[in-house]
């Protein structure tokens, strides 16, 4: 999936003359507000390789994913935006608005047809012909399908684009769905989280900029690198779980000593994400380290796995390992039970890995 075509490459492929290419460069020089003497520079640049073009669309969302994206430390937001990609359309960061902005979107889609990356944020409301999210006077779902048609690949940023998100929680008043529910036939990269970790978001585009292809995905379309481990298995408090040392009540002695939050409803045992190993702010913290259980924000349908302070065995989750009481059989049995619990989890992990291997690529071809 090579996207690094220059403007001159495109003109040549379409059988357009050098003359029309130069004419376009003159127009471009004018549009950019540059002096005519800079025409030669514009021509030179247009002949050079281009940065991967990204179009970022917003549906039913809270803009938390954009905010997370610009929090990235490595790579830094400015480096991503200026040197790794060319973000040609973004409701949040683009200078332009309205008609000119929509025109630019159209031009970008034509110019880079089949080459651009479509990044999406937010769910897609389908009720009443999609009128519950209108962009430029048209339903988001219409715009999304149009832009998706000639995209090289699609990124679903955040749990709304990935799974429908909060507006899709019961009773889902606007019939909001995931991007992959309305778009198919393309490689779709699913980057769930509410929001995803900043460096996970930028790493996906960085991978593309570095290797010219999308990162390896698991069976659910998630980049394996970041969603391959359960938070529970990478959690620095795991030893306390294995030893049966639990926080029984917020702010109790166990909470002050950083014991396991499983009994406080922690979703770490059923959540696949990099919070435990990467953490937030390059290792600074993550919800569990700050004393609150994981709410499983990268898991499908996590909003309906509430109440959040009820521990896992009492709610319907797919991968319940054992009960905390069994694990924690108080002092005497603690060590033995820990080993048993650990074994059970490892088995689950192993099965999971095998399953994944089996049904890789179900969401479409990898680049």
């Amino acid at each position: 999936m090579k996207t690094k075509d220059s403007m001159w490459d495109l003109f040549q492929r379409r059988g357009l003359s050098r003359r029309s290419f130069l004419k376009t460069c003159i127009t471009l020089t004018g549009i950019l507000g540059l002096s005519p003497s800079m025409l030669a520079d514009v021509v030179a640049a247009a002949e050079k390789n281009a940065l991967p073009v990204v179009i970022w669309l917003h549906g039913h969302e809270c803009t938390g994913c954009d905010e997370s994206f610009i929090r990235s430390q490595s790579p830094m937001a400015s480096d991503v935006l200026l040197n790794m990609i060319s973000l040609e359309y973004s409701d949040t960061l683009s200078a332009a608005s309205g008609e000119q902005f929509e025109k630019h979107l159209k031009e970008t889609m034509e110019k880079y047809a089949g080459k651009y990356i479509l990044a999406t944020e937010g769910g897609v409301p389908l009720a009443e012909d999609g009128i519950y999210c209108m962009v430029g006077g048209r339903p988001y779902v219409t715009v999304l399908k149009e832009v998706a048609e000639n995209a090289a690949a699609i990124i679903e940023y955040g749990s709304c684009a990935s799974w429908g998100g909060i507006q899709a929680a019961r009773p889902n008043p606007t019939n909001s769905v995931a991007v992959s529910d309305v778009v198919s036939g393309k490689p779709i990269i699913n980057v769930p989280g509410c929001p995803p970790i900043p460096e996970v978001m930028t790493a996906v585009v960085m991978h593309y900029a570095l290797f010219g292809e999308i990162p390896p995905l698991d069976s659910q379309g998630r980049p394996k690198q970041f969603y391959g481990n359960r938070i529970h298995d990478t959690c620095y408090r795991r030893a306390f779980f294995d030893s049966g040392m639990f926080v029984e009540k917020f702010d109790d002695a166990g909470a002050k000593a950083g014991w396991c939050l499983y009994k406080m409803g922690c979703r770490g045992p059923s959540s696949y994400n990099s919070c435990g190993n990467m953490r937030w702010w390059n290792g600074l913290s993550y919800p569990i380290q700050s004393g609150h259980g994981c709410i499983g924000c990268s898991s499908k349908g996590f909003w309906d796995n509430d109440p959040f302070y009820q521990r896992l065995p009492n709610i319907p989750v797919p991968k319940t390992i054992t009960t905390a009481d069994e694990v924690g059989m108080v002092a005497v049995g603690a060590a033995v039970a820990g080993v048993v619990a650990h074994g059970a989890i490892s088995a689950v992990q192993k099965n999971k890995r095998q399953t994944e291997k089996h049904d890789d690529n179900v969401r479409g071809p990898q680049a």
Binding site: L28, L32, G33, A44, A45, H60, E61, C62, T63, D66, E67, S68, I70, R71, L81, L82, S86, E88, S90, T92, L93, S94, A95, A96, S97, G98, Q100, F101, H104, P125, A127, D129, Y132, C133, M134, G136, G137, T142, G165, I166, Q167, P171, P173, F250, D251, A257, G258, W281, L284, S285, Q289, S290, G291, H292, I295, W303, D306, P307, F308, Y309
Partner: protein, 630 residues
């Protein structure tokens, strides 16, 4: 007369459309229409859930003002259940809220609003050496002589300071040049860079601002470190009803809060102060000064007539909001309404706003004359009494899924029209500043340190601009400038509450949560609560009804509803529309001035509270406002 549509309005949160009618000869905006074009329905989603989870759900109303709705929700639930949070939790929550305000304001200016004032294309004409000299002048000329209270200051020297060398500015200019020449303008593509307003500032100011745009893009993440330490992440940090989950212990490295963690917060708080004092505030004052001197004192609109605030930042824990204790403990007592500030402080009228007013239908109610809903007999209703009858009428021209023009004479927005005593009002940082200035100058309150700082700032800026507050404050420049001034107050507020937190821990108090009412068995069978907060965009309120351990009713009236609402045939235009109509447009097709005015409110448009099932049938009577944003 020309009708111009701008949709989508970018560099905001959410989906906003504006339409204006411009008299091309005079540039006067004869009519303006603001329409929220999406709603999500989180209030219905939260219904029947555990009230202890509500903060996490409603926090997702907005990821830009990420803690605002969580905090209002916690306050509403705690008010309903009569929970008083521990001192440490109050200080920590205040640090998180003040941090949010500093971060939100700074990112709003540099990354959402700056490109309405400065242009990378103009920056190309700048001389790097002259820009370095300008940077020095700006730092000297635009420092305000105000300070906040500080007990501890470990910051040996300003770690973040603007680079004022010609080499630096030459490198930034060359990078911008490369981008422009590449033809891949990315986020800078397709804008009206040829608009005459981009020549108001000299090229060097453009280059300095573009350099700071990039610099702040990479530094802003450090401002929210307190959220990551106390709440585990950002956006959307974690809280608990009854306090904070981040237990404090000086005996354990595994403790969520210990000395090492407090040092991280201290460092971030000091850095945020640097960013505000040496970048944000001087930049705004330099740009604002030049614009004001070039006659840009328009865009005030409704701010000249009426502004409203709810008050915030409890110095110490309070026992309830509905019982009036909240309003007795505040550092920022901007609760109230000020009318006619535009005519001068002597002619302005002040009206108090107390806890009891929030449940009085005569004080706050909403209408749907121009919103896609219908009310029985088209009455105005208090949020508590709202009914939900959707009435999507489509556009005036075009069809349901392909709009040409919306119908200003009929319904045209998913946003309702809230009113204070039947009148339209503006909320936000500008409103807070006008109210506190009026209350202090008129002797209605003896100022706290934060309120005194606000008055000092207003007087210092009036001196710089050589204009009285009533002239420069209620304008587009003033709305943008007060956000920067407020960031300075909030950056100091962080330091103030961190000092209090440390002093309290030193006194042996490490409690962060009050769990006496954690178990639903301890709750009354039915209870109601209200949560108030001065969010980055203005006065925010959440209401909750808890019945049999579940949420029976949840409502929110948010700042952007007050500001972005459609007109009311009796009360007139809302703040966005009034601002646009108080702004002159030079080129009708490129209404940069109008967009600058609208963005000066920091629009945040994301969620509706009017909820229907897929067939449009009423599924809930839980309603207030369509827009659920801070």
């Amino acid at each position: 007369m020309k009708r111009v549509v701008v949709d989508p309005v970018t560099r905001i949160e959410g989906h906003l459309r504006v339409e204006i009618k411009v008299d091309e000869a005079s540039g006067k905006v004869q009519d303006a229409l603001s329409s929220g074009t999406a709603w999500r329905g989180i209030e219905l989603v939260v219904k029947d859930r555990d009230p202890r989870d509500a903060w996490a759900f409603v926090q997702r109303i907005c990821g830009v003002c990420t803690t605002a709705h969580a905090l209002s929700s916690l306050r509403a639930v705690e008010d309903a259940l009569s929970i008083e949070i521990p001192k440490n939790a109050n200080y920590i929550r205040n640090i998180m809220a003040a941090t949010q305000n500093v971060h939100d304001h700074l990112v709003h200016f540099y990354h959402l609003h700056a490109l309405d004032w400065v242009s990378p294309v103009e920056a190309l004409k700048a001389d790097p050496a002259a820009t370095a000299a300008l940077q020095n002048t700006v730092l000297e000329k635009y420092q305000l002589p105000v300070t906040g209270p500080q007990d501890f200051n470990f910051d040996a020297y300003p770690k973040d300071f603007p680079k004022a060398t010609s080499t630096y500015f030459a490198a930034v200019r060359d990078k911008v040049k490369k981008i422009v020449e590449s033809g891949q303008l990315g986020i800078f593509a397709g804008h009206y860079w040829d608009h005459p307003d981009y020549t108001v500032l000299p090229p060097e100011v453009h280059l300095m601002a573009v350099a700071h745009y990039l610099n702040m893009l990479d530094r802003q993440r450090e401002i929210v470190v307190p959220h990551v330490v106390f709440g585990g992440k950002n956006p959307h940090p974690h809280y608990i009803v009854g306090g904070m989950p981040c237990s404090i212990s000086m005996n354990d490295m595994n403790a969520p809060v210990n000395s090492e963690r407090l040092a991280l917060v201290d460092q971030s708080v000091s850095m945020a102060l640097d960013l505000v004092n040496y970048f944000y505030l001087p930049d705004i004052l330099a740009i604002g000064d030049i614009f004001v001197k070039n006659g840009f004192v328009d865009g005030g609109g409704l701010a000249k007539e009426r502004v409203m605030g709810f008050g915030d930042f409890p110095d110490e824990p309070y026992s309830g909001i509905a019982n009036g204790d909240f309003h007795k403990k505040l550092l920022l007592r901007c609760n109230g309404v000020v009318e006619n500030f535009g005519k001068g402080i002597e002619s302005a009228s002040y009206f108090d706003l107390e806890a009891k007013d929030f449940s009085d239908p005569a004080v706050i109610n909403e209408g749907v004359e121009h919103s896609w809903y219908s009310y029985p007999e088209n009455k105005n209703l208090h949020p508590w009494d709202g009914v939900t009858n959707p009435q999507f009428t489509g556009p005036k021209e075009g069809d349901k899924t392909d709009w040409k023009y919306l119908d200003e004479e009929g319904k045209y927005s998913w946003i309702k029209t809230p009113k204070w005593r039947g009148k339209m009002t503006e909320v936000g940082p500008l409103a807070r500043y006008i109210i506190i200035y009026t209350k202090v100058k008129r002797g209605i309150i003896q100022p706290t340190w934060a309120e005194k700082m606000i008055v000092d700032q207003i007087e210092a800026v009036s001196k710089v601009l050589n204009l009285p507050p009533e002239v420069w404050l209620p304008t587009t420049v003033g709305r943008t400038a007060t956000r920067a001034l407020e960031a300075q107050v909030f950056a100091n507020m962080n330091k103030y509450f961190l000092d209090k937190l440390i002093a309290n821990i030193k006194n042996g108090d490490t409690a962060t949560a009050n769990l006496d009412k954690w178990e639903p068995e301890s709750w009354p069978k039915e209870s109601k609560g209200v949560g108030l907060h001065e969010a980055p965009r203005g006065a925010l309120s959440h209401w909750v009804v808890i019945k049999d351990g579940k949420i029976a009713n949840y409502q929110a009236v948010v700042p952007t509803t007050w500001n972005a609402c459609p007109r009311d045939d009796q009360a007139g235009h809302g703040a966005y529309e009034a601002c646009m109509m108080d702004t002159k447009v030079k080129i009708a097709d490129k209404p940069l001035e109008v967009l600058r005015g609208v963005r000066s409110f920091d629009p945040c448009i994301a969620c509706s509270t009017h909820l229907y099932n897929a067939s449009g049938k009423e599924v809930s009577v839980v309603n207030t406002d369509p827009y659920f944003k801070g």
